[in-house]
């Protein structure tokens, strides 16, 4: 046993740090820390910088233009980027669709779409959830009916994150109502410029509009946009969900959040002392930090096993649950930390958000982040679904 990185891993970490020092634009990290949202152009700029270095698709094999990193390298890259305040790599093309196409897509699909993801020619979004089919994906109803060389798609998707920026969407659609609910599902790639596709923003509780409904009315999709076999989409979806779970614990986000919380607690006056010296506040913060120290090691254990070729099982679910609890507690305590300045409504979506924030800078995002991040335990398989997976794998019931 050895908790330290190997010399090679340390060298890689140093390389990442040097790269971020040099190439990560200050303007983007400032946006991340402040009240302003990253624009589509911001994301594209950062993707291009990473792509130039060859690190945009750390998880892709080199044959497909990826970096071919192992799990530990990917972990190092993610941790260092988060620590440096870099924008998150938009996951839909890189982390989600890419692996599916590489495993199940046709040669034509791979040759066409994979380079376009890397180059930023396509912005993908995800069409999984439907109203009435949240955690229960198998019950989805958006249907695709074969009509000659096309599928005709009708229905609705929802919770489509950043769909407003996307020109392409990968969808689970129902192509058969026979057999078990999950047996009649297919995996379809849809150009969002096709007539009949409509995107409507959903305003969230924090005032932001990063998620969308996507409506399909007689949308004609060429049959060559089917990935793999018809009615086998459930298999591909599960494969994708496994890949989505890279960095499922969110250790980097939690660490960055905790650092930020500590800065706030050191700045906030609480009577005759700083807030960080309030023993009751400090106790809540310490419990979170202690939990995070342990979870970070659990995460490394899973990462290390993955690098050695072992597929993570219920451990992913454990990391998801614990990771979201920790991040949400950090959000809750950050809201507590800013005191009365949690009250002003300071949303990116509200006019005037580019004005100076009300109260200290660090207060502006606290309430919005708390409210918005309630989603962490809901999406990507709710924590209830994860607990059932854990129990089943343990109790064998």
């Amino acid at each position: 046993m050895n908790l330290d990185y190997t010399d090679d891993q340390k060298a890689f970490r140093d390389e990442v740090r040097a790269f971020l020092d040099e190439k990560l634009p200050e303007r983007l990290t400032e946006k991340g820390r402040g009240t302003r949202a990253l624009t589509k152009a911001d994301h594209e700029e950062w993707h291009a910088i990473l792509n130039e270095k060859g690190w945009l698709a750390g998880n892709w094999p080199e044959a497909f233009g990826g970096a071919g990193f192992d799990a530990v390298q990917r972990h190092i890259l993610e941790m260092e980027m988060t620590r440096a305040g870099a924008p998150r790599i938009v996951p839909f093309g890189i982390a989600m669709l890419g692996p599916v196409l590489q495993k199940f897509g046709s040669k034509e699909q791979q040759d066409h779409y994979l380079p376009r993801i890397l180059n930023g020619d396509d912005w993908w979004c995800q069409g999984y959830s439907e109203p009435g089919a949240g955690s229960d994906l198998a019950s989805l109803r958006c249907e695709a009916v074969r009509d000659g060389d096309h599928y005709v798609v009708n229905g609705q998707k929802t919770w489509t994150t950043l769909g407003q920026h996307a020109n392409m969407i990968f969808c689970l659609v129902r192509t058969s109502k026979e057999g078990k609910p999950q047996e009649g599902i297919s995996f379809l790639l849809i150009d969002m410029e096709t007539p009949g596709v409509e995107v409507r923003p959903i305003v969230l509780i924090d005032g932001g509009a990063e998620v969308n409904e996507v409506w399909f009315s007689d949308v004609r999709v060429p049959v060559e946009n089917l990935v793999g076999d018809e009615n086998k989409g459930w298999t591909y979806a599960k494969y994708l969900l496994t890949h989505e779970r890279t960095n499922i614990a969110g250790v980097g986000f939690a660490s960055a959040g905790l650092d930020s919380l500590k800065r706030i607690a050191r700045a906030e006056q609480d009577g005759d002392r700083k807030l960080i010296d309030n023993p009751h506040f400090a106790a809540r913060m310490a419990r979170i930090e202690i939990d995070l120290m342990a979870m970070a090691t659990t995460n490394l254990r899973v990462v290390s096993a993955a690098a050695a070729g072992q597929a993570p099982g219920a451990e992913s679910s454990m990391l998801k649950v614990k990771g979201t609890i920790i991040r949400q507690e950090i959000n809750a305590l950050t809201r507590t930390a800013v005191g009365p300045y949690a009250m002003p409504f300071q949303s990116e979506a509200v006019e005037g958000a580019n004005e100076a924030p009300i109260g200290p800078d660090y207060a502006a995002k606290a309430t919005g982040a708390y409210l918005n991040n309630r989603k962490l335990s809901i999406y990507g398989g709710s924590n209830e679904v994860q607990r059932t997976i854990i129990a089943k794998s343990m109790l064998e019931l």
Binding site: D136, W159, H280, P340, K375
Partner: protein, 368 residues
Amino acid sequence: MNFDLSDEARMLQDGLRRYLAEAYTPAARKDAVEHGFSGDIWAGLAEMGVIGALFPEEQGGFGGTGFDIALVFEELGRAGAVDPLIDTGLLGGGLLAAAGRDDLLEAVIAGEMQLALAHTEPGGRYDLARVATTAQEDGDGWTLSGRKAVVVNAPRADRIIVSARTSGAAGDTDGLSLFLVDPERLTLAPYPLVGGGLASEITFDGVTLPPDALLGEAGQAYAALEAAQARATLALSAEALGLMEAIRALTTDYLKTRKQFGQPIGKFQVLQHRMADVLIEIEQARSAVINLAGHIDTDDRDLHLHATKNLIGNVAKLVVEESIQMHGGIGVTEEYDLGHLAKRLTMVDHRFGDALWHLERFIALRAA
């Protein structure tokens, strides 16, 4: 020992609940959220005697007990009402009453005057004595200098009551004075609050006031501020209870109608048990509000104040987080009712001291 409402109280409760259920339409709420309050509803509340219920007869009202306050605000909470009754009624009105300004109080009870209390300062958090704003007396009156933070209802107030130091330093309970200020003397940039309503930051940069702007005795305002804030805290706690009940009702309905995996999600034992825990905690919140209401005019006031606000803060967090989780995605959307209620309930912990703040003071009182 008697936990039943008097006939008068029950009539007020029924009337208020019915009125708000009818009058507080989505449009009216939207109006109140964006503009701080809805004028028609404010007039309606005044007409029903809701403002008067907050004051005893000798102050021109017909209520004023802790239970009267709790009753009114539980109903406002249940309706998700935004109207600034705490600011105009319990803070502003309470301080006017303490200073014997019955002339103005009459207008408040009639619904004709809106008030705001400019007290908390940047960096002051929840400490009532942490006022650094100064008021200097000269021959012609008073000169105010300092900054006030998150002054709720300031943009809509007809008068703003401003606390300032006439002696001592930030942290002292002695030396605080109150001034009645016409907002036309100030530059107020309004901003919206989470959960609705408006507030302003206020900077006093040598603002001059006439001699009669002083409210009550110079340097002696702390006790009045404490008493007014205690009643406001009771009101906010009762509002929180009403919000919890509204959220619980919404969530219960959702559990019964929303289907996943082939059945209403309320059939899932795990959600049943968690909902049972939520219900138990809401009953705890109800009892905590009763405790504070019953002791608001007794020597034990502060003990119950700290206990109640601590418990309310903790239960509010549980109710908000569990109700959103049980709703799933729709729980974090703006459009659905839960969002508004959850935001207001979350903000309860950010006024008059949060759960940790009251915990520490409860411990200190118990150790004393």
